[in-house]
């Protein structure tokens, strides 16, 4: 993403030095920010893990130097805040050194979460589009449905998620679908809002024009409203896919789920496995970044085919 953006504003010159490309794009600022975060993180890790480490030295009656202290605070088994390298090492170990089908594999858990994210995202997108079409074409729907759509998002998802799971369990729905429905619940909202705006985006002139052709409602929809809504749809989808992931993780928390990144977070907090928590968090963030990037690529592709990227 950064490299693609970096080549954009470079004014046409084909081959440039890496340094020049870094300076022109936004890779350099991003790297600087990342470096700053890492430094601050290490500082906090040492500081927060210090009390425990001091008590360990005291019990052992061990003499220690500042170097020892820094080394040991960053190598605890259950630190208050693990160092970045500990998290990365854990991620590496649980990703590449364990079979992906194993319960100890981070990929296994990521896949469980991803599958319910994607199912929920697809269902949410379809639901959102269908609702938006009805809202735009029907005045009664506009008046009656839209307030409920907004109200649905004022309920904290953490409060409603267990109830959805319990109720669906009672009617015999278990496994993937209940979790996916929580993602759906979150992700349909930005799609409805974006698509309602998008389907209403055509100018009066364009709608009048279709009327002068005596165009049917279906023709006006497919030839004018739907293409007009595309940029809005993809902007919404980027938000929707990210909160679908949040929904899937939240859906894994109350179920006592045995698998998924949410279950991994919960288990980690039960047993004080902070390194495990952090690596699950990082995996979730990476997953979100990849999903948003995929939707972004789809966005660019569609707009390019529609001739809308100069």
């Amino acid at each position: 993403m950064t490299s693609a953006a970096g080549t954009l504003p470079a004014g046409g010159a084909g081959r440039e030095s890496l340094a020049a490309r870094l300076a022109a794009g936004n890779a350099l600022p991003i790297l600087i920010v990342v470096a700053a975060i890492v430094v601050v993180w290490y500082g906090f890790a040492v500081w927060l893990n210090l009390p425990w480490q001091l008590s360990v030295y005291e019990r052992a009656g061990q003499a220690w130097t500042a170097t020892d202290l820094v080394r040991d605070t960053l190598a605890q088994e259950r630190p208050v805040l693990p160092g970045p390298h500990q998290v990365l090492a854990e991620m590496w170990r649980t990703t590449f050194e364990v079979a992906p089908t194993s319960r100890r594999s981070l990929l296994y858990h990521a896949w469980i979460t991803l599958s319910s994210t994607l199912l929920g995202f697809v269902l949410g997108t379809l639901l959102g589009i269908v609702l938006a079409v009805f809202i735009v074409h029907n005045r009664a729907m506009d008046k009656s449905v839209m307030p409920w759509v907004v109200a649905s998002q004022t309920i904290p998802i953490l409060a409603i998620a267990p109830m959805i799971i319990v109720v669906l369990n009672a009617v015999g729905l278990t496994g993937l679908l209940p979790k996916a429905l929580i993602s759906t619940y979150l992700s349909f909202f930005p799609v409805v809002v974006g698509m309602v705006k998008g389907l209403r985006a055509p100018e009066t002139i364009q709608l009048d024009l279709m009327r002068t052709y005596n165009s049917s409602a279906a023709q006006t929809f497919w030839k004018l409203r739907w293409p007009s809504a595309m940029p809005y749809l993809f902007t919404s989808l980027k938000v929707a896919v990210a909160i679908s992931l949040v929904g899937a993780i939240v859906g894994e928390l109350p179920t006592g789920a045995v698998a998924g990144l949410g279950a991994r977070l919960l288990a980690g907090s039960y047993y004080g496995q902070t390194i495990q928590i952090w690596s699950a968090l990082f995996m979730a963030a990476a997953l979100a970044a990849v999903l948003v990037a995929i939707v972004g690529a789809g966005h660019r592709m569609v707009l390019k085919r529609m001739g809308m990227t100069p």
Partner: protein
């Protein structure tokens, strides 16, 4: 009519030539009125308009803003409903005329669909009206050459200048060969030089296609240069104050605008506008 040599319109069929001899009435309005109900009370956009437009005429509607010239055009197009009087388009109600696709409408802005190339923009009405694919291609090619846009088929609207975009929108209105062309200040947003050029091209196009054109403008020279008939309108309530039949020949080079005859008609239009108290505020 006086330039049969340049008249090489492939789609023109014999009935058009037959009707040219005895002009038929395309638009007949009598006692037409339209009142909008607004929060500030009723607004009389049109009041007691009587007007007949014959086949093959080039009629300009001129007047200050609020005089109802655009509203009148929109009534013809069935985009507004009159509240009084009657109007017939090709002997039908405006609604029936619209459903019969008997007119092409050119708006103030080009209103091209940005996701369609120029040729696909021109093809839009043809797709909606269900023309077969080979005929769409043939008609798009023909109408684009009619507005001198051949070679720009694959361009997207943003790649064209404002004048070219407006020409594309005229091609779009011509593509399905309606005999009536309604144009609502189509060149209003363009600069004077482009405008002169397009006016010349429009006259040429009119001579070649023999369409009836209703043209809304607020430029006196434009109205006099283009029209066979000038309808002067005035606001509050929107009404017709004068109808001027142009004595200029149909063949009109740009420099005809310096001729005494031209200036005389322009003076009469200006007088008509002033008589309508159109500039008091």
């Amino acid at each position: 009519m006086n330039a049969p040599a340049s008249h090489i319109e492939p789609a023109t069929t014999t009935p058009a030539a037959g009707q040219a001899a005895a002009p038929a009435t395309v638009i007949a309005a009598s006692g037409l009125g339209l009142t909008f109900d607004t929060n500030d009370g009723p607004v009389h956009a049109l009041s007691n308009v009587d007007l007949a437009i014959d086949k093959g005429e080039f009629v300009s509607f001129i007047g200050p803003s609020g005089c109802g010239k655009t509203t009148f055009l929109r009534v013809i197009a069935d985009l507004e409903q009159p509240t009084e009087g009657t109007i017939l388009v090709n002997g039908m109600t405006p609604r029936a005329a619209r459903e019969a696709r008997s007119y092409g409408y050119v708006f103030q802005a080009a209103g091209l669909f940005p996701w369609r190339t120029i040729e696909r923009n021109v093809a839009l009405p043809l797709e909606i009206m269900g023309y077969p694919k080979p005929e769409i291609a043939q008609r798009v090619g023909r109408t684009l050459s009619l507005v001198n846009l051949s070679g720009f088929e694959k361009k997207f609207p943003w790649q064209l200048s404002g004048g070219m975009q407006q020409r594309a929108s005229i091609a779009r209105a011509l593509a399905f060969d309606a005999d009536l062309l309604l144009m609502d200040e189509p060149f209003g947003a363009l600069d004077e030089i482009v405008r002169d050029h397009l006016n010349e091209q429009l006259l040429e196009l009119w001579a070649r296609t023999r369409k009836t054109i209703c043209f809304v403008t607020h430029s006196i020279p434009e109205a006099v240069y283009l029209s066979t008939k000038i309808v002067v309108m005035s606001p509050r309530p929107g009404r017709v104050t004068d109808v001027i039949h142009s004595t200029l020949p149909r063949e009109r080079p740009l420099d005809i605008r310096e001729s005494p005859e031209f200036l005389e008609i322009a003076a009469r239009v200006r007088e008509g506008l002033r008589a309508g108290h159109s500039y008091d505020d």
